[in-house]
């Protein structure tokens, strides 16, 4: 799996229920362990592309391969299981389940997916969560309710959850847009470190290009996606 | 319960008057079943009472040989097939023996003359002996299969200390014998 590109799209076209085409991507490839910055204005198809990559949106033409697996060839539940064990996902905002503690939020993917849990390298759930949380600088928050956290802390908890059990691919959908500049850089730094340690590929989506210089590669979605033109 | 009973006392008077309707109502019948006990090999009696119309088909006094033959045939059917009308639990292996079956003019009906007014009833009595205990078992009914006109039967059951009754309409109803 390590030789295969983390993401490969070939001739992918997608439209919502007979509406206009939203995606038309002749080719997109992200190499394993690469940190890619994907930018584009709103309406350029970011959310749709992420949905397709995560295996939540079906009904496209062409091939989408994630970590060497053809997403279209998996059944719905296989896609769910695949997402659960190999992908980490960070939302723009409100990443956490309000009625669970920080620790419970972080360990959630491992409790849902046995495969992901098996990748903890013999650590207990708590140990793994603690390790990941410490790396992200939130080690002392583990037993707090999530409702007491600042936005920046919440995003770090979200990052910790996406990273636990070392999934191969992390997808971050504008995770820094709610943070101020100083916190953005700090957050990215920690995220990079953690991805490095886990050996994960990072696909970072944003419309804020001030951060793009920190990444290995920068992609402009309007350039890749021919749907708009 | 006092409160409930006061209600009852008021509410019950009306139905109390209408309850005797079964005295002679075509289509209705009465069955009484009594066992000394449900345990061991229970022995008992079964009584059957119905307007003659439902069993024989008429209620005037049979005078012609044809009518007399009809009465005899109907009473024989009643005696022979009573086990299909009152179905004792097969598990108890009960045996019915007809003691008597007769058609009688209703005596306490005053001195009205004329065929239209005449009422007759069929009375039958059976002995019953079961090989096994009846406790916890059920008695079912099949009157209409034998006499299609009998569709509303008041069944009373006395077994040991149990006193229960069932209003069997179109053979629907069971009598459960207590354990």
């Amino acid at each position: 799996m390590s030789d295969a590109p983390a993401i490969r799209l070939t001739d992918v076209q997608f439209a919502y229920c007979k509406g206009p085409r939203v995606l038309n991507i002749p080719s997109l490839e992200v190499v394993a362990k690469e940190k890619v910055f994907l930018f584009g204005p709103s309406g350029s198809g970011k959310t749709t592309l992420l949905g397709v990559l995560a295996g939540v949106l079906g009904g496209y033409t062409g091939t989408v391969e994630v970590l060497g697996r053809d997403v279209a060839k998996m059944s719905g539940s296989q896609r769910d299981a695949f997402r659960g064990s190999h992908l980490g996902y960070i939302f723009q905002l409100f990443n956490l389940i309000p009625y669970l503690s920080v620790l419970e939020n972080i360990t959630l993917p491992c409790r849902l997916s046995a495969e992901r849990r098996a990748r903890l390298n013999g650590m207990s759930l708590e140990q793994a969560a603690e390790q990941t949380a410490k790396r992200l600088g939130i080690g002392e928050l583990l037993h707090k309710p999530v409702t007491n956290l600042s936005v920046g802390q919440q995003q770090r908890v979200a990052a910790a959850r996406s990273l636990i059990g070392t999934p191969e691919l992390i997808i971050a959908d504008e995770p820094t847009s709610s943070l101020d500049y100083d916190h953005r850089e700090k957050f990215l730094e920690l995220l990079f470190e953690s991805c490095q340690a886990a050996g994960s590929t990072l696909l970072f989506v944003s419309h804020d290009r001030s951060l793009m210089h920190l990444f290995d590669r920068q992609l402009s979605l309007p350039d890749i996606n021919k749907a708009g033109s | 319960m006092r409160f409930a009973l006061v209600l009852l006392a008021v509410g019950v008077i009306l139905p109390a008057q209408t309850r005797s309707r079964k005295a002679h109502e075509h289509g209705s019948a009465k069955v009484n079943i009594a066992f000394e006990t449900a345990k061991g090999a229970p022995k008992g009696v079964v009584e059957f009472e119905s307007p003659a119309d439902s069993v024989v088909g008429f209620e005037y006094e049979a005078k012609t040989p044809a009518d007399k033959a009809k009465v005899t045939a109907a009473l024989n059917t009643l005696k022979a097939r009573f086990g299909e009308m009152v179905i004792f639990p097969p598990a108890a292996a009960c045996k019915l023996t007809a003691k008597s079956a007769k058609m009688e003019a209703e005596h306490h009906d005053g001195k009205q003359k004329g065929k239209q007014e005449q009422h007759s009833e069929v009375h039958a009595e059976f002995d019953i002996a079961c090989a096994k205990p009846l406790s916890g078992l059920e008695i079912r009914f099949g009157f209409t299969k034998v006499f299609p006109k009998i569709h509303d039967v008041d069944v009373a059951l006395l077994v040991g200390e149990q006193q229960s009754s069932a209003d069997v309409e179109n053979d629907k109803g069971v009598l459960k014998i207590a354990k």
Partner: protein, 423 residues
């Protein structure tokens, strides 16, 4: 396990709505089970008012009327039966024992029953319970009386007290000129509580009834100065003319049917004989409609409780779209989302059921003695009856099914939202 913990935490997070929902379901369950228990209790205690009596015999009239005045002491007889007739049946070869009742007098609202020693010996209720004395002994002499436990309690009488009985059945306030005050009775004993109408009567010998009327003529008291003094009356000197009704035990159940027919066709006097169990059942069927109406009402209450749960789950869904998207993102499939919501609904209804059963227990333990004392209704402290369990099962299944409505909505939401929820 994860789903269970998620459902638990999610419900706990919305503690107020959860508590209210569980409480409303619990209340409706308590009502459902409680009404069922009271119903069964009422029917039981009703059916157990009198036991081991094969026939009740009285003057011809309504069969329910005979049952009501003989067993429940409600209403009164229009005709009495002669003592000769009573003795005829008492000595019938198929008869094991008889208990005569002579009714018609009262004491401060309680009925006075003239009877004999057979009452203390043979009367049975609640299957095989016999009459026992809380204190004292059965009346033996003409002017002696035993009190039902309610009578003793309500009037504060004890052994040795004098009791004056009133002619006719008057309310507590209606005493006056027709008191048999020249012939007071001495309390010799108080009966133990039976929780049946037995508790609400006074028991004197049959001779006592005759004795207080000994000097009466045509239903009117004697002129002053013409009274026969009580001390001149002995048990032997009193002649019993008539009684009101009697209980009969036949030697064999099989004889019961024959005896019943013989008694109702007795030519000396118009009589009727009823089988108490059957007439009780008839009586119960008559009030069965009220019972059914009550059950229907409690069913609707339960449905309202469940609808409340549906509303609370359904309205919470919009604020939970985000939560569903997160669960989807970490790999929860639609089946898990549906299960989560169905599980929550099931947990709510199950918690409601547990609370409801608890309430029923608590309430019956608290109120059983009060209900028994005031209504003579013995409601056993018990869990749900078979029917009760069926109700509980039905409510849980309904909770499960109702859970599919918000679950389906949540599933539709996740399909349209995918991983993006714009809030």
């Amino acid at each position: 396990m994860l789903l269970l913990s998620l459902a638990y935490h999610s419900l706990k997070n919305r503690v107020l709505t959860t508590a209210l929902t569980v409480f409303s379901i619990g209340l409706s369950i308590a009502l459902l089970i409680g009404v069922e228990n009271v119903r069964v209790g009422a029917r039981e205690s009703f059916a157990n008012t009198i036991s081991q009596t094969d026939l009740i015999v009285g003057a011809r009239g309504g069969s329910l009327q005979l049952l009501l005045y003989t067993v429940f002491r409600i209403g009164s007889a229009t005709n009495n039966i002669s003592f000769e007739t009573y003795e005829h049946w008492k000595n019938h070869p198929a008869v094991a024992w008889t208990i005569p009742y002579s009714l018609g007098d009262s004491h401060r609202g309680f009925r006075v029953v003239g009877t004999d020693e057979n009452f203390y010996k043979h009367y049975r209720f609640r299957r095989d319970k016999s009459i026992e004395f809380a204190s004292g002994r059965a009346p033996a002499d003409v002017f002696e009386v035993a009190l039902g436990s309610d009578v003793a309690r309500d009037l504060g009488y004890k052994t040795g007290d004098k009791v004056v009985i009133t002619h006719g059945v008057a309310s507590a306030a209606g005493r006056g000129i027709l008191d048999h005050k020249d012939k007071p009775f001495t309390v010799t004993g108080v009966l133990a509580k039976t929780a049946t109408p037995v508790d609400r009567s006074l028991y004197i010998p049959l001779e006592g009834i005759s004795a207080v009327h000994i000097d009466w003529a045509d239903g009117a008291p004697p002129m002053p100065g013409e009274e026969v003094p009580a001390e001149k009356i002995t048990k032997q000197s009193v002649k019993i003319d008539q009684i009101t009704s009697f209980l009969l035990r036949s030697k064999s159940r099989i004889d019961t049917l024959r005896l019943q027919r013989e008694i109702s066709t007795y030519t000396e006097e118009p009589l009727q004989a009823i089988i108490p169990g059957l007439t009780l059942q008839e009586l119960w069927r008559t009030i069965g409609y009220a019972e059914d109406a009550l059950t229907v009402v409690t069913f609707f209450v339960t449905i309202v409780g469940l609808l409340g749960m549906l509303v609370s789950l359904y309205t919470s869904l919009n604020e939970r779209r985000r939560e569903m998207a997160i669960l989807r993102a970490i790999g929860a499939g639609p089946a898990k989302i549906i299960s989560l919501l169905v599980l929550e609904s099931f947990m709510l209804s199950a918690a409601g059921c547990i609370l409801g059963v608890g309430l029923v227990y608590g309430l019956s333990v608290t109120f059983q003695p009060i209900v028994e004392q005031h209504f003579g209704l013995y409601v056993p402290i018990q869990g749900p009856t078979t029917t009760g369990w069926i109700y509980l099962g039905a409510v849980m299944v309904a909770g499960l099914i109702i859970g599919f409505i918000p679950a389906w909505k949540a599933y539709r939401n996740t399909l349209s939202d995918g991983l993006s929820v714009r809030l």
